[in-house]
């Protein structure tokens, strides 16, 4: 089966259930994952990329059982992610940052240039430490799309960016499925971005899936509006 499927995933930290029996499936395009702080969005990403071990449940990517695979091998299977705290390698050039992913995922070196062109990063020989925040975010996206990714996880890529920059990022994100054919899962608190980018969204709250469906419908649902947007129905225009 194509796409990403999570079945009954539960993650516990001590007594806390960061994810509680979550099942959801995403097929293609850009999908959103939203929810209040501490809802379990980053935890979901961590489970998928192998940084956190799920107590129960499974996840499949294009029919492959993901959770049994060692974290670094998941990258080879086509799973990429960015981080809430970006992790561009300061000691390497932007080019080498992307190349690193390519060579460890058995991707062609030519795809490095293509990825950098796609995000529009100039002067890729600059070191990671010399890049601005926006440029580092661009590098992270380039790292996510180099080679043949199947699933790209983006954790708050627009945090800290100003509106014009967010705009630019939005275009890049929405273009990923067409460019490389990957499914994109996007976490962000910027509802304008989510609305513009995502066809479907899943909403988590306290580790539970509380809504799933087309973005428009989900964001209109009363439960989501109360739990996440913090607005009562008559105030919608303010948001």
């Amino acid at each position: 089966m194509a796409g990403l499927t999570l079945s009954n995933v539960t993650v516990r930290y001590g007594g806390v259930r960061s994810l509680d029996d979550v099942s959801m499936a995403f097929e293609r395009g850009v999908c959103g994952l939203i929810g209040p702080n501490g809802a379990g969005k980053t935890t979901t990403f961590n489970v998928l990329s192998g940084f956190t071990v799920a107590a129960t449940g499974s996840a499949e990517l294009d029919g492959m059982d993901l959770l049994r695979v060692a974290p670094h091998r998941r990258a080879r299977l086509g799973l990429r992610r960015s981080f809430q705290q970006e992790q561009v390698i300061r000691a390497l050039s932007a080019y080498d940052n992307v190349r690193l992913v390519a060579e460890h995922t058995r991707s062609a070196l030519t795809s490095v240039g293509r990825a950098l062109d796609y995000v529009g990063l100039a002067r890729a020989e600059r070191l990671g430490s010399e890049l601005t925040l926006l440029e580092r975010r661009l590098v992270e996206i380039a790292r996510c799309i180099v080679g043949q990714p199947r699933l790209v996880l983006l954790d708050e890529p627009a945090a800290g960016l100003d509106p014009t920059e967010s705009e630019r990022l939005l275009k890049l994100i929405t273009g990923i499925p067409d460019e490389v054919g990957a499914l994109v899962l996007l976490v962000d608190h910027d509802m304008d971005l989510v609305r513009a980018a995502c066809g479907t969204v899943a909403v988590l709250d306290f580790g539970k899936l509380i809504a799933f469906g087309s973005t428009h419908e989900v964001l209109a649902s009363a439960q989501v509006r109360r739990a996440y947007l913090g607005v009562e129905d008559d105030e919608e225009s303010a948001c």
């Binding site: 990258a75 981080f83 992790q87 300061r90 690193l100 060579e103 002067r123």
Partner: protein
């Protein structure tokens, strides 16, 4: 500047370095004063130790791993060399490679557990290992052609291992050592500039980012330990051949600390720093000594130098030299443009 030109820029640095080194190899033995006796012998050992310094430097500068057992590993390499020499009588070059291999295994196996914890535990663990290795070689002594596994003839009439046929006298042995060191350093450089080097840079910054990039962090850490240990083992082999016998008292834990200190003073982030580190570890104390500075005060000087380097000049002397040379280059570059 395209990525290609970045690479070619780096290559240019390498070529300059190698050219300078080769020039030194040719010139040094024929310099008056240094060319014979104490100066040359000291320089030979200093150059040998630059391999150990390079190992510590690569681990620290490129992976952020502190390994304070390099002198202990030099002892392992030396011990293996002597043992293999007496056991097999193989040519020195073969023995050297085998010693590198054995040291790689030893160095990796002993420090592997600590890799699971924070960087500080590796520092502590390797210091403990340095202590343990000190005790072990003191117990076994170095092989001198005797019987048994330990290979030591206790009656003292032990023989010495001859130098390799290509480097019999002091002058030629210096050149021999220098060539081996240059070859090993170039190999290291090549490793750093290619895939493993990039993976190490990623690991240095953080496991999460590295793993997400598809890097098997454990494997690359092991690779780093193995490679640097092997390089240190080569130093041990060259040292054993230098005088034909080794003595446990040369390989105290405090020597490992001293070596690490000099690596930091010299600069852990470049291979040029390694060479300077070797000189600092072995040549500078001798120099200070001939100027009448008490040998114990050399410890004080190098110790305080480490504190100073680490707090205010993290890239060490090599870094400062690099800044200087790039400043010079940009100046001359500008002048060329003007004219």
């Amino acid at each position: 500047m395209s990525p290609q030109s970045v690479a070619s820029n780096r290559t240019r640095g390498l070529i300059t370095g190698v050219a300078l080194a080769v020039l030194a190899v040719v010139l040094v033995p024929s310099l008056p004063g240094i060319g014979a006796g104490l100066g040359l012998r000291t320089l030979t050992v200093a150059v040998i130790y630059s391999l150990a310094a390079a190992s510590a430097g690569v681990l620290y500068g490129r992976l952020g791993l502190v390994s304070i057992m390099q002198v202990g590993l030099v002892a392992v390499g030396g011990w293996t060399t002597l043992r293999l020499h007496y056991a097999t009588g193989l040519p020195f070059e073969v023995v050297l490679l085998l010693a590198a291999l054995v040291t790689a295994v030893v160095g990796t196996v002993v420090s592997l557990p600590a890799l699971r914890l924070s960087g500080l535990s590796l520092a502590i663990t390797t210091l403990m290992i340095a202590g343990a290795l000190e005790v072990i070689v003191r117990y076994t002594g170095f092989p001198n052609g005797g019987p048994g596994f330990v290979g030591r003839d206790a009656t003292g009439s032990g023989s010495t291992m001859p130098r390799p046929s290509l480097g019999q006298d002091d002058q030629t042995y210096f050149r021999y050592v220098a060539v081996v060191v240059i070859v090993v350093l170039v190999l290291l450089w090549w490793l750093l500039a290619s895939r493993p080097g990039r993976a190490w840079a990623a690991i240095r910054q953080g496991d999460a980012g590295a793993m997400a990039s598809g890097i098997n962090t454990t494997a690359y850490r092991v690779l780093a330990l193995a490679v640097t240990s092997a390089v240190t083992g080569v130093a041990g082999a060259l040292l054993a051949a230098n005088s034909g016998v080794l003595d446990p008292v040369s390989f105290k834990a405090q020597q490992s600390v001293l070596l690490f200190a000099t690596v930091l003073i010299a600069g852990a982030f470049s291979l040029a720093g390694a060479v300077i580190g070797g000189l600092f570890f072995y040549w500078v104390p001798q120099l200070l000594n001939t100027w009448g500075v008490d040998g114990n005060l050399v410890f004080v000087i190098l110790g305080l130098g480490t504190v100073q380097a680490i707090t205010t000049a993290p890239h060490g002397i090599a870094g400062q030299l690099e800044n200087l040379s790039s400043a010079l280059r940009s100046r001359t570059g500008r002048r060329v443009e003007e004219s």
